[in-house]
């Protein structure tokens, strides 16, 4: 893990919709190979910020660099250097496991030979070799999640954004998924993850907590627990994230 390189740099990020500040002066840095937890209640502004970091939406103001590219001008370069996976992952249900891998590999411009190797490697790692010809709709949710994650990093991006990746699976499957996350982080891929499971927040190297468009805490899980005199991240979150509706 090379944690000296800044892979995401955010200075004074604000995003306004009309008079409403969805993001209000965010400042943070994410290091290469770090697992960064991006927490907040529903409606706190997480999705708005993630869309900006992925080059899908422009900020109102602020200086933001992702993988050393500017979010105002270099959005295409950003898209090539990041991976993205959400709970509604974008696998094609009517394509097979193998076809999905080939489709996404193709979109990311992997050469035919490289893609072939990658596909075999990936199927082996996920123990899906005998399932390669199965349609996505026929495989269990836990496998879909693991496959979706592996496809999100098939082009070896510098950063992968995971938006509530583990909803709905059993506790054992959820932990298998985190094994993949650790492995990717050890290989130097930066993980930027949102989750509603507070025990997962504890698996992160550092965690930020957003309330009403502002980041109000950012530290290691241990640091946050100390600061807020809490036993676990759930208590920290409940203290900080009281929402007003």
């Amino acid at each position: 893990m090379n944690q000296s390189i800044n892979i995401i740099e955010v200075e004074g990020l604000s995003k306004k919709f009309g008079d409403f500040y969805a993001n209000d002066n965010l400042n943070f840095v994410v290091k290469q190979g770090e697992i960064f937890g991006f927490l907040g209640a529903n409606g706190a502004g997480k999705t708005t910020a993630i869309r900006i970091l992925c080059g899908l939406s422009k900020p109102t103001s602020g200086k933001i660099k992702v993988a050393n590219f500017d979010v105002y001008k270099q959005t295409e370069e950003i898209k090539k250097n990041i991976g993205y996976m959400s709970q509604k992952f974008s696998l094609y249900e009517d394509l097979t496991v193998e076809e999905n891998i080939e489709f996404y590999g193709g979109i990311y411009g992997l050469k035919r030979k490289v893609l072939k190797e990658k596909t075999n490697e990936l199927l082996k790692k996920l123990k899906l070799e005998d399932k390669r010809a199965k349609l996505i709709k026929e495989i269990p949710l836990g496998w879909k999640q693991r496959l979706a994650f592996s496809i999100a990093i098939i082009h070896e991006p510098k950063i992968v954004f995971l938006d509530e990746p583990t909803g709905g699976v059993d506790p054992v499957t959820r932990r298998h998924f985190w094994d993949l996350i650790y492995e990717a982080a050890q290989e130097g891929i930066t993980i930027f993850v949102t989750t509603h499971y507070m025990d997962e927040a504890e698996y992160c190297d550092r965690v930020s907590i957003m309330v009403a468009g502002k980041i109000i805490a950012l530290d290691t899980p241990d640091g946050l627990k100390k600061t807020y005199k809490s036993q676990n991240m759930n208590e920290v979150f409940l203290q900080l994230a009281r929402t007003e509706e």
């Binding site: 529903n42 409606g43 949710l141 709905g168 059993d170 506790p171 985190w178 509603h196 759930n234 409940l238």
Partner: protein, 308 residues
């Protein structure tokens, strides 16, 4: 007629090749807050849909409030409240229009049952002229619950009301369920969040269409039959990996920044564990014996019933 609010006997249900429910037996007492706890595919939604008369079982019998879910489906629909996983609100109607609509369908009025929904509805009443589609997730949830309650049901079915909802809103929602329970309404609620099991009177832990265990959360935790160790070190991932390669390991799972460890012999000592971890090159080792949580119990039951 039984004294149970919900009585389920040998219910089976399959969809083509997939078995959704295998021989389900359970009963819910009057005024009980009962949880169906399990991941996607456990059979929670199928069971709730059978109990609300929306799906027919292949075999077995079930009674809600003494009514047969197949023969007396009309009675059931009048008497139960149901909040499906995807809110069945009309997004183009306002908050007030939605509530009025559900009241009218059940032949009642908002005024008649206002007292029951007041604690929940009053939180969104200031937005009553806003369209449901323009509400936040938390407010939609409150409106959907108000609509499911407006005809004063005897039994309330809630299918994953807190999925995808943040930790703060989840705490609030369970507070509302407690209030409803204190008014004598029986509640059957499903959830994929293991920690919510602790908020129910009793729970059924479900996996792949089967009930693995039914009991009070306290009893489930007390019945955990192994010694559970909490292990910490400077490197969580490495700790997990080295434990998985140990011939003395029964199970090792990540829990936040620690590992929960069960040995395959009850005779193991903390110094033995420490020695192994030190040999694996781990530092800052902390070892303590702890009490199991529902999640520990669920994973242990899964290992014993490898249905997947």
């Amino acid at each position: 007629m039984s004294n149970f609010s919900i009585d389920i006997q040998n219910i089976n249900k399959s969809y083509e090749k997939t078995t959704a429910l295998k021989n389900i037996n359970l009963s819910v007492n009057k005024g009980e807050l009962f949880g169906l706890v399990g991941p996607d595919g456990a059979g929670k939604t199928s069971l709730i849909r059978i109990l609300t008369s929306l799906v027919l079982p292949d075999s077995g019998q079930a009674f809600v409030d003494g009514f047969d879910v197949v023969k007396d489906y009309k009675k059931i629909r009048q008497n139960v409240g149901y909040m499906p996983g995807k809110f069945s609100l009309y997004m183009d109607l306002t908050v007030l229009e939605n509530l009025n609509f559900f009241a009218t369908i059940f032949g009642t009025t908002i005024e008649e049952n206002y007292e029951l929904v007041k604690p929940i509805y009053s939180q969104i009443e200031s937005f009553k002229h806003r369209k449901a589609g323009a509400l936040s997730g938390g407010m939609k949830q409150k409106l959907a619950l108000s609509c499911a309650l407006i005809h004063k049901p005897t039994v309330l079915f809630l299918d994953e009301p807190t999925t995808g909802v943040d930790a703060v809103s989840r705490v609030e929602f369970w507070g509302m369920l407690k209030d409803l329970k204190s008014k004598g309404i029986s509640i059957l609620v499903s959830t994929p969040y293991m920690d919510e099991a602790e908020l129910c009177d009793r729970v059924a832990l479900m996996q792949s269409g089967e009930i693995m265990q039914i009991n009070s959360p306290q009893q489930i935790v007390n019945d955990f039959s192994h010694t559970l160790w909490q292990l910490k070190s400077d490197n969580l991932y490495k700790t997990l990996q080295s434990l998985r390669n140990w011939d003395k390991t029964h199970s090792a799972h990540a829990f936040g920044q620690s590992v929960h460890f069960v040995a395959n012999s009850s005779k193991i000592t903390s110094s033995e564990i420490k020695e192994y971890m030190e040999e694996a090159g781990l530092e800052n080792i902390e070892i303590s014996g702890i009490k199991a949580s529902i999640e520990d119990c669920f994973m242990e039951l899964m290992t014993n019933n490898p249905t997947n």
